[in-house]
Symmetry: C2
Subunit: 144 residues, 2 copies
DNA sequence: TTAGATGCAAACGATTTGCGCGGAA
DNA sequence: TTCCGCGCAAATCGTTTGCATCTAA
């Protein structure tokens, strides 16, 4: 039960406050993101068995894009062709990815760059700083 | 004069040893990568005024892909639709990217996760570990 | 009532691949 | 002489957008 501390209603509330309507598609996509412990692609969101209403790919795309603009959702690059997304509200995660098969593992480490972020923010003048840290390698299976 | 310490001939040598032929396209692409101080997209490589012979996009794609497989080139995600590439031999770089206009700045910091990498390698069993660290924010221009 | 949201279908852009020719080894 | 690498063109795939309809506010 990932994100048990996060609440669908409070997320919807936040969305509403930022100008989004409480549609069934929005609720459904948020629920899928809440139920996943790994970042998902738009396709994965749209095809999830947890998605309680059918959503057109374009709808998922527009919803997640809006959520990303409002910084409710975080985009993660990985190296796949498709972008991955997760809720920003959940704890920040760093990842370990197999560059061969694309398997994603969530790293159980204290993120080592939090303090750096503040320093970079003040030196660069950039606002709303955020970061992405991924390790790439060949997993045990692909070494076989 | 970026990468002044890196030598085109030694790169070509490394490519040859790993089974690539010394073609004019390979030389040209390596030269472009050597001359840039920022990661480039395939399009940017193919359109570079520094590219000394015309190269078909498919050729650039296949070349860079082979170089990446041989770990001579590193892929970087950023959040643009197109992947960026740089020479792995150059010093490892971390980046600061504007999530609005996409501007890329190379961070002048000692990378803070080198030691973590070793730890993760030994704990996970992953081989040939490598990492990518990027900071995202809104740059001064886009704050204007 | 009406401005934002959705579905459908078409457009886009960055790869990715098949194929026949040409050049490095 | 062989086989890898190249250009050309077509196929893929993940978005991205236009438009008419629907619906939350």
């Amino acid at each position: 039960m990932p994100h048990s501390s996060l609440n669908l209603e409070s997320l919807l509330e936040e969305c509403a406050k930022s100008g989004l309507r409480r549609t069934s598609a929005l609720r459904a996509c948020l629920k899928v993101l809440l139920s996943s412990d790994q970042p998902l692609t738009l396709q994965e969101i749209g095809a999830s068995p947890d998605l309680e209403v059918e959503c057109d790919p374009a709808t998922v795309y527009r919803l997640v894009t809006r959520l990303e603009e409002r910084r409710i959702v975080r985009r993660i690059g990985f190296h796949s062709r498709a972008a991955h997304y997760c809720l920003r509200e959940s704890a920040h995660q760093d990842y370990l990815i197999c560059r061969e098969c694309g398997a994603v593992e969530v790293l159980d480490i204290a993120c080592p760059v939090e303090h750096l972020e503040k320093q970079i923010a003040s030196e660069s003048g950039f606002r709303d700083l955020d970061h992405e840290l991924e390790f790439y390698g060949q997993c045990l299976t692909c070494q076989g």
